[in-house]
């Protein structure tokens, strides 16, 4: 369970100690500072908030967010005792004269020995001492006790309870972070990007919570080794197979079932975690009367994942993760939709020396979406895809527990197929058409340092350099300067051969964060971030849908850039039982992509003629109060945030709202979340979530007119109206039969009620002509209470 690296005491220190001991007998009684750092055995990530005691002594402390702890001890033999819920209890002997610092690698308890813990931000003491101010960590095992919807534990739905993260209506596939777009969130599965995380129109997260060990989410202060998206970064760490015994996990539900295996292939050397989830909502839909809308609809999805972990020796570890998902759905009508994800990653982590760690990553991710026209005459299959291949090396050098250097580089190749259409049968009159593929290379170098200069001041700074090249083969249209970019203003075409560089962008993204520790319970944190995004989602809807596709930066579409300034005041009370924070941010975004009114985005070889450059800004204040201990725990947060954008076009026919700033689609000024958990005793727990959010901006008609004898609505001003506010209460009662953490046989029963007071929250408002007048209708996706019962039995 526990291993340590041998760390030689520097010779001059040893000599000095001996010398002092020889010269002055009292030096034997002097105290020496011993510093240790505790890491996770598998991920090599530091473990914060772990209890460290000395057996038989009254010394006790906890590790900070960097896994560090220290004692001032007389020279002697001691036994360090580490204990936490996740890692259990383990001990290690030290002789204080041998070393003044050491590293400790602890293994997590097997999954079925984990005591359920709560979703938590990395706070408590870490909230004060950690340099990161916006890091949210989700422990997935906890989610089974919180309110769930449709019987499925959902990771992203839990994330959206954190301040600064909102979704478009009830769906979880399109979340917005601090006013950013839905495509500005980087989602990594063991290092590989996931381009569409939605199942079933976005009601479910595309990866089973049973496969995920933990989730790290950052709204700002993203480390320099990560980039390529403007707004947030989410790392999903997949469970590693148990190295000792094979375990199985299966579940059967009315909508989906899952099965996972988890155990050794070669004991202690090679382990596997593999499984999948399959859904069959059509079975339930068939309950409806024949011919009804529901009965005529269809839906299906599955996802499968496997992770192999090979540990040849104490210093090396290789993991390989594979993920595949498939979705399809069809509403009554003549069109069906489907999409697939193929993801793979291989990571090799090597402890080259006790100070230097190397992490090599190779990953592949491909997302394909399909739209199928089912009409006999116009039947078609339209597909588009995005593919990324990446190689990356990250070096981590620890000078000492207070100073760390992270550096490395990577290479990414992007391939995008914007669209290809094929006739779906011999009777279809559709002809084959394929838009040219897009290709680009991106070379990245990054360097970041963490320096705890004094107890008062800790600084993390660094940067990320990217060289991006848009490559042939490609046909590029040239447009007459001084005119709106249209197919008519194109006066020439340039043809680039395969691999030929068409456009190069070089960008440097500085990252800076600092923590000022005012006292043991108060700190101020500031950060400054620049991020660049070369991959853009082309979408003209409010949510991410299968009709969207990705686009690379090119001659006309520039890399989107965001600069974020953030400051936060963190204050804990009552021995970290109460955590409070006030955070503010301002974000400036340039080279945003927007769309001409009525843009024709599908199968358009000159897509730039439909796009408009834009810029925007966002700002906000996030207040949070959290109670960590006692019978009643919970969190209340309030966010005030705004986001605006402006179309940058000199041509009046292209301008939106007269060229003025207008609210962005993610502009929801007020967001209040109140989550509680009450320990009722005897294994019973009550939890609740209340969410209030301002309605999102909408465009209502501000006039109507008659064409072809029909009233047509006119929408002259974009996003000048607002949907009604969103609010919802969910509650859950959970019974956990465990009486001690290591108990193998236990059950967890969860009764959940989503949207308890049956509010019909508005997803959208649309307008129809009824006879000779225009009538407004509101669409609510989930307009009633959703009860769910979930029973988990472990043995």
């Amino acid at each position: 369970m526990l291993k340590t690296t041998k760390l030689r005491l520097p010779l001059h220190c040893l000599l000095l100690t001996i010398l002092l001991g020889a010269v002055c007998p009292k030096a034997q009684a002097q105290k020496i500072k011993f510093t240790g750092v505790v890491y996770d055995y598998d991920s090599h990530q530091p473990i914060g908030n772990m209890s460290v005691t000395i057996e038989g002594k009254k010394y006790a402390t906890v590790t900070d967010s960097s896994g560090q702890f220290s004692f001032l001890l007389p020279v002697d033999n001691y036994t360090l005792v580490f204990s936490s819920l996740l890692y259990g209890k383990s001990s290690y002997p030290i002789y204080i004269l041998d070393k003044t610092s050491d590293k400790f690698y602890l293994k997590k308890l097997p999954p079925n020995e984990l005591q359920e813990v709560t979703v938590e931000t990395v706070k408590k003491d870490a909230a004060i001492k950690d340099i990161q101010q916006d890091n949210v960590r989700v422990n997935v095992s906890q989610l089974k006790k919180t309110p769930i919807v449709f019987g499925e534990t959902d990771i992203i739905r839990a994330l959206t309870l954190q301040p600064g993260i909102i979704t478009t209506g009830e769906t979880v596939s399109s979340y917005n972070v601090r006013g950013g777009g839905a495509d500005q969130n980087l989602i990594l599965i063991d290092g590989a990007p996931m381009f569409n995380i939605a199942h079933l129109l976005g009601f479910y997260t595309g990866i089973s919570a049973d496969a995920v060990q933990d989730v790290n989410f950052m709204k700002a202060g993203v480390p320099a080794q990560y980039g390529s998206r403007l707004s947030s970064f989410m790392m999903m760490n997949i469970k590693t197979g148990n190295p000792d015994t094979m375990r199985y996990n299966t579940g059967i539900g009315f909508v989906s079932s899952h099965f996972f295996i988890n155990g050794p292939v070669v004991k202690k050397k090679l382990s596997i975690m593999a499984g999948g989830r399959i859904a069959y909502p059509k079975v339930m839909m068939n309950v409806f009367p024949a011919g009804s809308n529901v009965q005529s609809s269809n839906a299906f999805y599955y996802d499968a994942i496997a992770k192999l972990a090979y540990t040849p020796n104490d210093k090396n570890r290789i993991t390989a993760t594979f993920y595949n998902s498939y979705d399809k759905y069809k509403f009554p009508g003549d069109t069906s939709y489907a999409w697939k994800n193929y993801i793979g990653s291989v990571q090799w982590r090597s402890n080259i020396t006790s100070h230097l760690t190397l992490n090599l990553l190779g990953d592949y991710s491909k997302y394909i979406s399909y739209i199928n026209g089912l009409d006999k005459t116009y039947g078609y299959s339209l597909s588009s895809s995005v593919q990324q291949e990446e190689g990356k090396a990250t070096f981590n050098y620890d000078f000492n527990p207070d100073q760390r250097l992270v550096f490395g580089g990577g290479f990414v190749h992007y391939t995008i197929a914007p669209g290809e259409i094929n006739p779906s049968g011999t009777s279809s009159i559709i002809v084959h058409n394929k838009i040219e593929e897009e290709n680009a290379n991106e070379i990245t170098a990054f360097l970041s340092t963490e320096n705890k200069i004094t107890n008062f001041l800790e600084i993390q700074f660094g940067g990320r350099f990217t060289q991006y090249q848009y490559l042939g083969p490609k046909t590029v249209y040239l447009y007459t300067p001084g005119e709106p970019m249209t197919t008519e203003s194109a006066y020439d075409t340039l043809h680039y051969s395969a691999g030929q560089a068409i456009k190069t962008y070089r960008n440097f993204e500085p990252r800076l964060a600092a923590r000022f520790l005012l006292n043991s319970s108060t700190s101020i944190k500031v950060s400054y971030n620049q991020t660049v995004q070369n991959l853009h989602l082309i979408t003209n809807t409010t949510s991410i849908t299968p009709v969207d596709y990705w686009k690379l930066s090119d001659d006309y579409v520039h890399p989107e850039k965001a600069t974020q300034y953030a400051v936060g005041l963190f204050k804990n009370f009552s021995n970290n039982n109460y955590e409070t924070s006030v955070e503010g941010y301002y974000k400036d975004i340039t080279d945003l992509i927007d769309y001409k009114n009525g843009a024709d985005l599908s199968l358009n070889p000159a897509l730039e003629t439909q796009l408009l450059p834009a810029k925007g800004y966002a700002y906000g204040v996030e207040l949070s109060v959290r109670k960590n201990k006692g019978i009643v725990t919970g969190q209340a947060s309030y966010t005030y945030s705004r986001t605006f954008e402006k179309i940058l076009s000199p041509f009046i026919q292209e301008q939106v709202n007269g060229g003025a700033y207008f609210p962005g689609n993610a502009d929801r000024p007020h967001n209040f979340v109140f989550s509680t958990s009450v320990n009722l005793g005897k294994g019973w727990n009550f939890s609740s979530n209340f969410v209030y959010t301002s309605g999102r901006p909408a465009t209502y008609p501000d006039g109507s007119y008659i064409i072809n004898g029909t009233i047509v609505t006119n929408y002259s001003l974009r996003n000048q109206d607002r949907l009604p506010s969103y609010n919802r209460l969910d509650i859950a009662f959970a019974y956990d039969s465990r009486r001690y953490p290591q108990q193998r046989k236990y059950s967890v029963l969860n009764f959940s009620f989503y949207n308890v007071y049956m509010r019909q929250n508005v997803y959208s408002v649309y307008f129809k002509r009824d006879a000779d007048q225009i009538t407004a209708y509101k669409l609510s996706l989930l307009g009633s209470i959703i009860p769910s019962i979930s029973w988990n039995y472990n043995f």
Binding site: G202, F254, I429, Y705, T775, Y777, S780, I789, W791
Partner: protein, 352 residues
């Protein structure tokens, strides 16, 4: 081993797929009215017609009648410098005088001067040739959204798309449908039935781009939905128009906007930009489109047979007037069959 069972209550699934749609009343902004132009110039003998109105907020039935513009000066101009004045024929409707016809290969625009001195013009529309040959493919049965509750025939045509050039199509129609009315024939007499033919205007838009079907034979292309008020003949002339790309985009967006359902696949709402601009104030926008097109035509007589009388008489009694003579109680009617279809083929459509 861990075993999980999710008892997912059926009601939840039912609710998932039973999203809720409710009417809602909203406060609308009402900016200054904008000029709305709807113009059509064809290469056949159909007079050029331009309709002028102002935009408003028509949330009350009949309110739109107040916004037609009657005192404007409207002129059509071609690329040879010829000007053709249009005269007011009906409220807001300006029609060409004389017997001039538009020509393929030439560009046309409309100039409008309002009584307040504001001048507007359309960007020139160049008429591109259209495939003249088209035929009837089939007539399908459908229920109609408007007029609500009626059955109707979906007229589907067939034509050949030329592979050499980009083509954008629009289909419009002239449709005279059979109507009946009833009126008293005297004391103690059964009511008399009267027959007439009413000019029907299909509110649907039928456009097609050959982007995805270039060079193919266009089959089963809907071009008209003609309502079955009665099982008498329908006198139909399907006109096949050649659009410019801009005109096609205008009508595509028109169709998109009039069929929105608020779902997640709906594009974000946006104004429909036409080809009208203000000459006296470059910041002022105008709505609508002046369209110039070549035209192909296919005339036929459609005879619904075996039509279910229940559909027309009992299920939709609101569409059968009992107030007098047919040509008096319905607008735009002819007492006898319209002229011009004497040699047109006849198609019997079975309606059950």
């Amino acid at each position: 081993m861990r075993f999980t069972v999710n008892f997912f209550i059926i009601v939840a699934i039912l609710l998932l797929f039973n999203s809720c749609i409710k009417q809602v009343s909203l406060n609308y902004r009402e900016p200054a009215p904008l000029l709305v132009v709807e113009g059509l110039l064809l290469t056949d003998s159909t007079p050029c017609k331009v309709t002028l109105s102002y935009s408003g907020l028509f949330n009350k039935a009949g309110a739109q009648q107040l916004n037609y513009i009657d005192n404007a000066t409207v002129t059509v101009e071609d690329d040879m410098g010829n000007k053709y004045p249009l005269n007011l024929a009906d409220s807001g409707v300006y029609v060409s005088a004389g017997n001039w016809q538009a020509l393929v290969g030439h560009s046309y625009s409309v100039d409008i001067t309002l009584a307040n001195g504001k001048k507007y013009a359309s960007y020139p529309e160049k008429i591109v040739p259209v495939q003249k040959k088209l035929s009837l493919d089939t007539v399908d049965e459908t229920t109609m959204q408007r007029p609500e509750g009626l059955y109707g025939g979906v007229v589907e045509i067939r034509t050949q798309d030329p592979p050499a050039e980009k083509n954008y199509y629009r289909w419009i129609s002239v449709d005279y449908i059979s109507r009946i009315s009833m009126a008293s024939c005297g004391f103690n007499q059964p009511p008399c039935t009267y027959y007439c033919y009413q000019a029907y205007s299909d509110p649907n838009i039928y456009v097609l781009s050959d982007d995805l079907i270039n060079g193919s034979e266009i089959r089963y292309q809907p071009a008209l939905i003609s309502p079955y008020y009665y099982y008498g003949n329908h006198y139909i002339d399907i006109k096949q128009l050649s659009l410019t790309k801009e005109a096609y985009e205008f009508w595509r967006l028109y169709g998109e906007q009039t069929t929105r359902t608020g779902g997640i696949l709906d594009p974000l709402p946006a104004p429909i930009q036409g080809n009208i601009h203000c000459l006296t104030d470059s910041t002022e926008l105008a709505l609508g489109y002046f369209e110039a097109s070549d035209v192909g035509s296919f005339k036929f007589v459609m005879s619904p047979a075996f039509i279910n009388a229940y559909i027309t008489f009992f299920n939709t009694p609101q569409y059968v007037s009992h107030d007098g003579l047919c040509e008096d109680v319905y607008p735009n009617t002819l007492k006898n069959a319209p002229p011009g279809w004497e040699n047109a083929p006849n198609y019997i459509v079975k309606v059950y």
